[in-house]
């Protein structure tokens, strides 16, 4: 069997898997961004209860392993009567986990906005919401984008773990194909190549492009 005929026979399985991976990726990215912003702002809140809750969240999700969180959600929640579908469990675990890392990025970026910008917005008597939305967040966003680039790739790679709770993603398909064909080099090699193409030729250029656009929009290009 040649590699070409291997691809002709099983190529569609890789495509199916890659699509599931892409959807998992987008869902968990959406969740991670929301979680990161919410908890990032909470980390900076002047209310100690909110701050402590956010620290607890971040330390918990960063301190325990993603695989442990995934299995815990999948096997333990049903014992309390909450049964989630595999797909949902998958992106919940990945999104909540990477969101905790994102929260630290959001916090760091907001803190790095120069003091004078805060003072100027006090001087203009902006409300806290206006100050955040119009002055601080746009600048923080540009600062944290490069770090988000790494995190987004991390997130794509983390989605491979959802195969272990039987979400039929790229990793899952590769493993199934390996079990039926025993062509390990080709199956796992192809899957690795697809992940590589995703992160190197889709995510990285997208992030660079966003960085350029955003820098231009706040006049830093």
């Amino acid at each position: 069997m040649t590699y070409a005929s291997f691809l002709a026979d099983y190529g569609s399985r890789f495509v199916d898997g890659a699509l599931v991976t892409a959807v998992q990726f987008l869902c968990s990215l959406g969740l991670a961004v929301v979680v990161a912003n919410l908890f990032g702002l909470m980390l900076l809140s002047s209310n100690p209860a909110l701050r402590r809750a956010a620290v607890g969240y971040v330390e918990f999700f960063r301190g325990t392993s993603l695989l442990v969180q995934l299995f815990w959600l999948f096997y333990v929640l049903p014992l309390f009567g909450i049964t989630l579908d595999n797909f949902l469990t998958g992106f919940l675990a990945v999104g909540l986990n990477l969101g905790a890392y994102g929260a630290e990025l959001v916090r760091g970026a907001i803190q790095s906005v120069p003091r004078g910008q805060w003072e100027a917005s006090y001087a203009l008597s902006m409300s806290p919401a206006q100050r955040m939305r119009r002055i601080i967040l746009p600048q923080a966003f540009v600062t944290m984008l490069p770090a988000w680039g790494n995190l987004v790739i991390e997130l794509l790679k983390s989605t491979a773990l959802v195969a272990l709770i039987a979400v039929p993603d790229l990793m899952f398909e590769a493993r199934q194909l390996n079990n039926t064909t025993y062509l390990s080099t080709w199956t796992f090699g192809t899957a690795l190549a697809i992940y590589y193409v995703f992160s190197r030729f889709l995510i990285t250029p997208c992030m660079r492009w966003t960085e350029r656009i955003m820098a231009r929009r706040i006049g830093r290009a």
Partner: protein, 221 residues
């Protein structure tokens, strides 16, 4: 479902034993990664352009693809070429190479932070390349790299549960086994989470302390 304390006490010795294996796996993986990572970093600094280019691509590839898939790849591809690796060996190779790619970036950052004048001074007093690295550059490059290296030590520890997919007898594998035998997943998985949380939080503290100590010893503060 209620927490069963008798069951917890019964499986505790098994879990603690497996924790030892997790720590061993993380330690061994980290040792391999630390050495290969340094080779990766140095290979990117040789005057040989082609070597720099190849190493760069290898590092990028490893960093853009999921660890779980790499573990499968190493474990299953060996036998296709007549190389039978035990789960431990395959796991250590995969995790060692994976983190070597990350550590090489940390080293690179550290090496680049050494002022140019130090290199010039080495040339001026006629030190060999080996002497320059060993006696002048690396001792100065390491303290700024410690924080990054520490992060990856914690990260490698949190990634060891993935080794359970090829049957390395670490903590996650033990929890799976205990859960499967007793049809109770609440206690084993929660215990894994708690053990991970305790070790991550303590080691993060320890690394910060270690970094401060090294800086003080080298008079960098």
């Amino acid at each position: 479902m209620k927490w069963d304390f008798a069951f917890t006490a019964e499986i505790l010795p098994k879990m603690l034993w497996a924790t030892g294996n997790t720590l061993l796996a993380a330690g061994m993986g980290y040792a391999i990664a630390a050495v290969i990572g340094l080779l990766f970093a140095l290979a990117q600094r040789t005057p040989l352009r082609i070597l720099t280019y190849i190493t760069r691509e290898i590092v990028e590839f490893i960093r853009s693809t999921p660890l779980v898939l790499q573990i499968f790849f190493v474990y299953y591809v060996g036998p296709e070429y007549g190389l039978y690796l035990s789960p431990w060996v395959a796991g250590m190779i995969a995790i060692g190479l994976h983190y070597a790619a990350y550590l090489s970036e940390v080293y690179r950052g550290g090496i680049e932070s050494v002022p140019k004048g130090q290199w010039e001074a080495c040339t001026a007093i006629n030190l060999t390349t080996m002497q320059t690295y060993r006696r002048i550059v690396l001792p100065q490059a390491l303290p700024p790299a410690i924080a990054g290296m520490g992060n990856y030590l914690v990260a490698i520890f949190k990634d060891t549960p993935i080794l359970s997919v090829i049957g390395v007898a670490e903590l996650m594998q033990a929890a799976n086994a205990v859960g499967g035998q007793n049809y109770r997943y609440l206690e084993p998985y929660t215990m894994v989470g708690v053990i991970f949380l305790v070790i991550s939080l303590t080691s993060a503290r320890a690394i910060r302390w270690f970094e401060a100590t090294v800086r003080r010893k080298l008079g960098m503060q």
